[in-house]
């Protein structure tokens, strides 16, 4: 069934504006990513009123929800476009860029702050020669974080440039907090306290929204135990 896709755009304009396209899915598996790709492949892209439209700017890479590239807001919810099946939506769907990051163009946003924050937190193994504790579920979960930013979009406490870095940083650094031996993890634990623990309200909106299905609560509980309460890691 054909669907109207309403896209919040910026191309050739100083202000954001909505443009609506009619899209006829090719198959059951079609996602919002398929639609964006196919719209851009049209010889002449026209909006629903037949007005000529510019190619839609957006990012994608893996098309199988493993890279976090295509995160955007779909019907009000931060999601991966390649994981949002068209068949879920009835007649109409609204697609917008993530709002917590500066818009580059249309649906492409600049998520550099994610990486700047991780640098600020010193998210790395300080000395690779030291004995690392491997193989725990926490580390596997944490390593899967896509750095997509969906959790930041939904988080009531995160804003770009603030002192609170949100779950994207909290989830990723929980690997190091759980595996670095005592003495090696002091800096990252301190950074965690300052840039995550102090700002997180534990509402766990991030857990519901994480497209990788990461159990952010489990990571947060473990990191709090180790970094704040100096207990042993799970």
């Amino acid at each position: 069934m054909a669907i109207f896709i309403e896209i919040l755009r910026t191309k050739n304009s100083d202000k954001q504006y909505f443009e609506t396209f009619l899209y006829e899915p090719f198959g059951d598996g079609d996602t919002i990513a398929t639609a964006l790709k196919k719209l851009n492949e049209r010889e002449e892209l026209k909006d629903v009123d037949g007005k000529a439209a510019e190619k839609i700017e957006w990012e994608c890479s893996c098309l199988q929800k493993k890279c976090g590239s295509c995160a955007m807001v779909i019907n009000g919810r931060p999601r991966l476009a390649c994981d949002a099946k068209i068949s879920e939506f009835k007649g109409k769907v609204r697609v917008e860029p993530l709002k917590k990051f500066p818009v580059v163009c249309d649906l492409t946003v600049d998520r550099s702050i994610l990486f700047a924050n991780l640098k600020e937190m010193k998210s790395w193994v300080p000395d690779e020669k030291e004995a690392i504790i491997n193989g725990k579920e926490i580390q596997y979960e944490s390593s899967r974080c896509l750095q997509c930013g969906c959790c930041l979009e939904i988080c009531p406490n995160f804003y770009s440039g603030g002192k609170f870095f949100g779950m994207a940083a909290g989830a990723l650094t929980s690997r190091l907090i759980s595996e670095l031996p005592k003495g090696e993890r002091d800096e990252i634990a301190k950074a965690y306290k300052k840039h995550f623990y102090a700002g997180c309200g534990k509402s766990l909106a991030c857990k519901d929204v994480c497209p990788a299905g990461i159990d952010t609560e489990k990571l947060l509980v473990n990191s709090n135990a180790v970094a704040i309460w100096k207990r042993k890691s799970k």
Binding site: L63, E128, G135, Q147
Partner: protein, 523 residues
């Protein structure tokens, strides 16, 4: 200053190595490392750690790699490559990669073309967890000022003059501005899957343009006829989704339905390695089973009999993925699969030190053709990317190449605006269909010549430089396949079904004076 193009496993390994040598590099990529194709790698990475009590050795890893690649690569190169593997995996462990453990040692699983359990893994997300650890490591050197990341920056041109490298033209995708960066450059741009849009297991980021430009500017390529079809892929919207070889490594069985009954063709035909024969063999057998005439024309992967512990623990992510995209629960229903393009053994021709034929230009990772011969073993390409990136970086640091065109190789032009004439999607799909027809799992002269004629026509019809370069690289793939008049590894010729000693050599392709020249080079 060394330029590293591409931030997947090979690029990030190169950047870390350069930094560890106390040198600086620029790391360019279309998107951040977190989104590179390397994060998709599933089943694992090979190293003869011998943690499973089977008496595995580096020598056996060497032999399996040579045999899997059907003896095209230089022996010493493969000896060094396989000997480096255990140390590479242990270093990854020291960086905190959460490998699956067996006691306190890294566990290893069976993979295709290898009799012993040699593949270290983390469920079916090995590439992702390795990338996470290496990205953190690169961050450390970024903080120290050794690595400068350019994570939304696409290389749109290479400048080569008189057989020497000058620099790369880079476009900031976010602003549209372009600049040139001079000096020694390592290409780590991944596989050529973008030459086959929507029909490979890879990402949209690796569009094949850098390889096309390099080829049209005289960079030598090799073994372009060897394209790996992975036996077990599933069609999903816009791509083929991989079902990792780990599924068979952990006990998955392939069958087709013949005369109303399941026929486990791999087990019947290959009683020793069974479902874990090298990929070229398995894909060919799947193709034959599909086209057998007496079967139902389908191949299924039966995972229903896997031990609960494997379903729950070692492959839970893969099971979830299949369920999410195909609405099939693999623990109760066999999964219909088909061979799909997965990896390119061919690519930029490099020597043991990862030098190309252009002075000052190096290549590593999937874009370089070395280590995998006529058929890559599963688990050897992550290894090849990490090892290759490291070797290339060491060579580049040692050679300290300075570009003749500038004073010290780090000169930057002022930013300017440029709109790149990208290949149109319709052209790219036409090219894909032509190549796909000629370069299938089973090939013959007639089909290849027909593809050749069509590619030539396509080239004559376009004025767009990007399109022309892409089609020229495609033409070189076809010509390489025409010239190799034998069957070896992933290259199977119905009209030359036997392997021939005469062709125990790497094919090379060079674009020179408007012509593509194919030669064979003995190891």
């Amino acid at each position: 200053m060394i330029n590293v193009i591409g931030a997947g496993l090979s690029g990030i390994s190169a950047a870390i190595t350069i930094a560890k040598c106390g040198k600086k590099c620029n790391l360019f990529s279309v998107q951040p490392s977190e989104r590179a194709q390397s994060v998709l790698a599933e089943g694992g990475i090979n190293a003869a750690l011998d943690n499973m009590g089977e008496g595995d050795t580096v020598e056996e890893h060497f032999l399996d790699t040579m045999k899997g690649g059907v003896f095209l690569e230089d022996e010493q190169t493969i000896k060094d490559f396989t000997a480096a593997a255990p140390d590479i995996v242990m270093k990854l462990k020291a960086l905190g990669v959460p490998f699956h453990l067996n006691g306190d040692k890294i566990a290893q699983r069976n993979f295709g073309g290898q009799k012993k359990k040699r593949t270290a893994f983390s469920k079916s997300s090995t590439g992702k967890v390795i990338m996470t650890a290496l990205i953190d490591e690169a961050r450390k050197y970024e903080d120290k000022g050794f690595i400068a990341r350019f994570p939304h920056h696409e290389v749109i041109d290479l400048s080569i003059s008189g057989g020497a490298f000058c620099g790369v033209t880079v476009r900031d995708i976010y602003t549209g501005r372009t600049a040139e960066f001079f000096g020694a450059t390592i290409l780590c741009v991944g596989g050529m899957n973008g030459i086959f849009p929507e029909v490979t297991t890879g990402t949209t980021q690796n569009n094949g343009n850098v390889q096309s430009i390099a080829f049209s500017k005289g960079v030598e390529f090799s073994d372009l006829e060897f394209i790996q079809y992975h036996p077990t892929t599933i069609a999903v919207a816009d791509k083929r989704m991989l079902v990792s070889e780990a599924a068979r490594g952990e006990g998955g069985r392939l069958f087709t339905v013949k005369n109303g009954k399941p026929w486990y063709f791999m087990e019947e035909k290959y009683p020793v390695l069974k479902n874990l024969m090298p990929r070229d063999v398995v894909s060919r057998e799947c193709y034959l089973a599909i086209h057998d005439g007496q079967t139902d024309g389908k191949v299924y992967l039966d995972l229903t009999g896997l031990p609960e512990e494997v379903k729950r623990d070692k492959l839970s992510d893969l099971f979830e993925e299949i369920t999410a995209y195909k609405s099939i629960d693999p623990s109760v229903t066999p999964v219909p699969v088909e061979p799909g393009i997965h990896y390119f053994m061919g690519g930029i021709s490099v020597d043991k030190g990862h030098r190309t034929n252009v002075k000052g230009l190096y290549a590593a990772g999937e874009c370089a053709s070395i280590y995998h011969g006529a058929n890559r073993l599963g688990g050897n390409s992550m290894l090849g990317a990490i090892y290759g990136g490291t070797v290339a970086a060491k060579t580049a640091v040692d050679e300290n190449y300075e570009c003749a065109a500038t004073d010290n190789g780090s000169h930057e032009l002022p930013f300017g605006y440029a709109e790149r004439a990208d290949g149109s999607p319709s052209f790219n799909k036409k090219l894909r269909d032509i190549l796909f027809d000629g370069l299938g799992i089973i090939r013959d002269e007639k089909g290849l010549i027909s593809s050749l004629e069509k590619v030539e026509k396509l080239i004559s019809e376009t004025k767009n430089e990007t399109e022309m370069a892409r089609a020229t690289l495609g033409k070189a793939m076809i010509l390489s396949a025409i010239e190799r008049k034998e069957s070896r590894g992933a290259h199977y010729r119905a009209d030359f079904p036997e392997q021939s000693e005469e062709y125990k050599a790497k094919s090379t392709a060079v674009f020179s004076g408007g012509e593509i020249v194919i030669k064979f080079k003995k190891a």
